[in-house]
Subunit: 238 residues, 2 copies
């Protein structure tokens, strides 16, 4: 049986908290689910029935209170999904590339937008990047992480070498063209920087740097907003 | 002297937490600032000097530790700005209209996007809307709330009567036209629903309902993302 401990990035397992996220993993990435834990007070017979039916004999389902005390401070969490962390190499195609994102909530929100706009391969570039497997990231993605590939790269050059034919579009406050006037060619890589510091100025010399026009009344758009507007423009049908 | 208490929506005052937000209010909405409180451990001479210079004889600046224990659990908050809540009627022009937004963080993030895209008049429609004056809203807006007008309406009809010539664009999952194919005429009102439940189906018969196309892999885009993509399209220069 798997012992539930509070999450650390070195752990072999991570956790999906809540029935919605557990169902996403059971439906979309069942092969990574190692166990499902139900709270003794969980009363939704319909959900319990669905979970048991999907888990069958392959995935143990237990009823325990203790793991909820360890993992979840939210009183309305009644299901924990124990997920094995596996390498998920990203594939050829359109990519979102996040360089040193620092906040798990933002990372998860961007993953959800990526899935919404059909970009299923996401590169996270370190060395100081937020953990894409953190339960907070999974929660913010509302389970979208179960449907995408996320690969972590030590540095941008490692990513670039693996996908030499992708068209690179770094999003920068001083990008030389504005988003709506830039033709985004596929396969594309939309590259976003850190929440506080943006991308290193060296990205000015990489691909076609893009800026999203905004008024001088704010310093910058929120990173989740900038990434999603980029996704919207790059993938829209007309 | 103003007694600092933990924030409640009925309070006469609200609070901007942190030096960045305090500076936004002092620079953009000084007339609403009633006091500035500095933490005894605050050491940034440059910021203290700026604050004292702007406050002059009009706004009291004190040094106390207790209000920080009451208002801020964040250890890195060293400045509190006490802000008087005043009615701020919205004006003619382009509007963002948020119907029953439930989360202060989302509300603040949308306000920041509004300011970024030059939409400075925001209508909040109740009866169950998050409080635009909550310190959490102000924090999430990163101080952008100091630069916009926010007015709360009991119901949508009250808003509509005040601005009969605005073109109404409700954002709905089943909106009849997609965003990039919809001509958004000014003055516009972009109307967004609640995070969990969206807009009431009755909005289908109001103005021109718009949907943002996304894959069936997610139920909906995050409300802050949808609102910001709407703002981007409605205001972009070409």
């Amino acid at each position: 049986m798997i012992k539930v401990t509070s999450y650390k990035s070195g752990n072999e397992y991570t956790y999906g908290l809540g029935a919605t996220i557990a169902m996403e993993y059971l439906l979309k990435k069942k092969e990574a689910v190692r166990a499902v834990i139900l709270h003794p007070d969980f009363r939704s017979e319909e959900t319990i029935c669905k979970i048991n039916s999907i888990c069958g004999k392959d995935i143990p389902v237990s009823v325990e209170a203790k793991p909820f005390n360890i993992l979840s401070k939210k009183e309305n969490c009644f299901v924990i999904c124990v997920i094995e962390k596996k390498p998920e190499p990203i594939r050829d195609g359109n990519h979102m590339v996040l360089v040193n994102p620092s906040n798990c909530g933002n990372l998860g929100t961007i993953v959800r937008s990526c899935l919404g706009f059909g970009v299923r391969n996401i590169a996270i570039v370190g060395p100081k990047a937020a953990d894409p497997f953190d339960p907070k990231t999974i929660r913010a993605s509302m389970g979208a992480l179960a449907s995408v590939n996320v690969e972590v790269f030590g540095q941008f050059e490692d990513y670039q070498k693996r996908f030499p034919s992708n068209n690179l579009y770094p999003f920068m406050l001083d990008g030389s063209t504005i988003l709506q006037e830039t033709k985004i060619n596929k396969p594309f890589s939309l590259i976003m920087g850190n929440e506080a510091t943006g991308l290193d100025p060296a990205f000015k010399n990489i691909g076609q740097p893009i800026r999203i026009e905004h008024s001088g009344d704010i310093d910058s758009l929120n990173i989740t907003i900038a990434a999603s507007i980029g996704l919207y423009e790059a993938t829209k049908s007309c």
